[in-house]
């Protein structure tokens, strides 16, 4: 006995258009999620890296004085290292500003000491400044964590915005599917009427549409996910091909949770489509006897 023909006819042009819209929304949602996650992960790694790092600027002293200041710093509690930066280190640090030609002659440059403290160290930038000032140095110490806090705050805002975008895209997808289901219901009114008069319960009719839109959501979500995976891979490839971007985004890569997002998106899209379709059909059927 051949398999019975589905009671709802095969998909038509309207469903092809809906497939594209859902796939595009899933693509954007996944991309927004992956970008937000990637940025957050990179920022967190960078914050952890600079936590406990400080830079001491010394003016009105020579390299010997700087070495003495470094020795004083090394003697403080919780300090792991304190190294005076060489001219080469300085030039490499300032290369983005001055270019590969090095620092022009005549530009007054302070001597810098790179300090690294142990986690939870009580030695603060202020304590180092005070200790060196007490020894007669014209010194200012700055904690890198201060910059990281600002970056973290900006990235937190970015993350909230990304979550908002994902929520908005999901809501849009659900609304579009509900609208499309309603249109499909009107287009298939003849079938719904015949089923209704044949004694089909609302649940039976709703399930026909739910199954149809579950499959559509699943396939469209998978297409969107695969496209987002391809786009992300391209971004990572581009970032890793460019040395400067690679330094800026050292942690940009796909991890386990990113893959979970990619795998879960089609299921979420299918479920959202199914729920939207079921709700729309049940609501419409309740309007008739």
């Amino acid at each position: 006995m051949p398999k019975p023909t589905p009671l709802l006819p095969e998909s038509d042009a309207r469903e092809a258009a809906l497939f594209f819209v859902v796939a595009a929304l899933c693509f954007l949602a996944v991309l927004a999620t992956l970008t937000a996650r990637g940025t957050y992960t990179a920022a967190r790694a960078w914050s952890a890296q600079v936590e406990g790092e400080m830079t001491v600027r010394l003016s009105d002293t020579d390299r010997r004085g700087a070495e003495e200041a470094a020795t004083i710093i090394r003697g403080m509690s919780g300090v792991r290292s304190a190294d005076v930066l060489s001219q080469e280190d300085l030039e490499r640090l300032l290369e983005p500003s001055f270019g590969p030609g090095g620092i022009p002659a005549g530009v007054p440059m302070p001597l810098l000491i790179a300090v690294e403290t142990a986690p939870n160290s009580v030695t603060t930038a202020l304590a180092i400044t005070n200790a060196l000032t007490a020894q007669g140095f014209n010194a200012v110490a700055e904690s890198h964590a201060d910059y990281a806090a600002e970056a973290r705050s900006a990235l937190g805002t970015l993350r909230v915005a990304a979550i908002g975008i994902v929520v908005l895209l999901t809501a849009t997808a659900i609304a579009v599917i509900a609208f499309a289901t309603h249109a499909a219901l009107l287009a298939r009114k003849d079938i719904v009427d015949v089923l209704h008069l044949a004694g089909a319960e609302d649940r039976f009719i709703a399930q026909l549409f739910e199954r149809r839109f579950w499959t559509l959501g699943l396939k469209a979500g998978a297409a969107g996910s695969v496209a987002a995976l391809a786009a992300t891979a391209l971004i990572i490839f581009s970032a890793q091909s460019s040395a400067s971007q690679n330094q800026l985004l050292p942690q940009l890569s796909l991890d386990f949770w990113d893959l979970v997002i990619l795998a879960v998106t089609p299921i979420a899209a299918g479920l959202a489509a199914r729920l939207a379709a079921g709700g729309t059909v049940n609501h419409a059927l309740k309007a008739v006897l």
Binding site: M1, P4, T5, L7, P9, E10, D190, I191, D193, V194, L195, H196, L197, A198, G199, A200, E201, D202, F204, K286, V288, L289
Partner: protein
């Protein structure tokens, strides 16, 4: 007298008590209609176009609720029934339309099997039953044809088979011969008569074909401007 031998003792199969129907804010299409159809009765419903025949049938096959009054089917008042109970009641009613309302993407066999699929039956369970019924309506050779490849008469017989597959207690037909030639019309009516006699199915047929009404000599309900002007129980044809 009614030669279709209704059961005069039990509850009426269909009972409309002081029923009125109005669509939205328009005038009433049915006013204060009172009818009773006995189980096993065969009744014609006639009247001019716009008299309210289709609206009356819609109340009987539960496509609409009355604006006022009570519709009782098989002894049950339908007004207070839950949606599931209404669905169950609809399964006891077969409906035949002038425009057939066949599903174009399903074969003849699948169209007839539709009410059984709604009940959750599998093809193995209904295969023989559907095939027998298609043979009975003369479509044994067209089981796998799509409706658009069938003639008007064949499509109407197919829709009758679909209406009968659940062995309904009540068959409602709205101008079933409106889209077929007179000879096919007679053939279809003979099917209804045979059904009524063999299975004691209560049948109500809306038609304005007076020739057929005369030929089949069943009682007539006549509607005029939404009012019953000739009553089945008091003035049989």
């Amino acid at each position: 007298m009614n030669r279709f031998n209704p059961d005069m003792t039990g509850e009426p199969a269909v009972e409309l008590n002081a029923v009125s129907l109005r669509y939205d804010t328009a005038d009433e299409v049915l006013s204060d209609v009172n009818i009773r159809l006995r189980p096993g009765s065969f009744t014609f419903l006639t009247g001019a176009s716009g008299a309210g025949k289709s609206s009356l049938l819609k109340l009987i096959y539960l496509a609409h609720a009355p604006t006022r009054g009570e519709v009782r089917l098989f002894g049950q008042s339908t007004g207070m029934l839950k949606r599931r109970q209404l669905s169950a009641l609809r399964r006891r009613i077969g409906v035949v339309f002038q425009d057939f309302r066949l599903l174009e993407h399903l074969t003849s066999f699948e169209n007839v099997a539709l009410p059984l699929r709604v009940l959750g039956q599998k093809p193995e369970q209904y295969r023989d039953e559907v095939a027998d019924l298609l043979r009975w309506v003369g479509l044994g050779e067209r089981m796998h044809a799509l409706p658009q490849s069938l003639s008007g008469g064949e499509q109407q017989r197919l829709s009758i088979a679909r209406a009968l597959i659940n062995k309904p207690n009540l068959l409602v037909a709205d101008e079933p011969t409106g889209n077929v030639d007179p000879e096919m019309g007679k053939r279809i009516f003979r099917l209804f008569v045979e059904l009524n006699r063999r299975l004691n199915t209560t049948i109500i047929i809306a038609t304005h074909d007076l020739g057929l009404i005369r030929e089949f000599e069943a009682p007539v309900l006549r509607l005029q401007h939404g009012l019953i002007v000739q009553d089945v129980e008091h003035q049989p044809a």
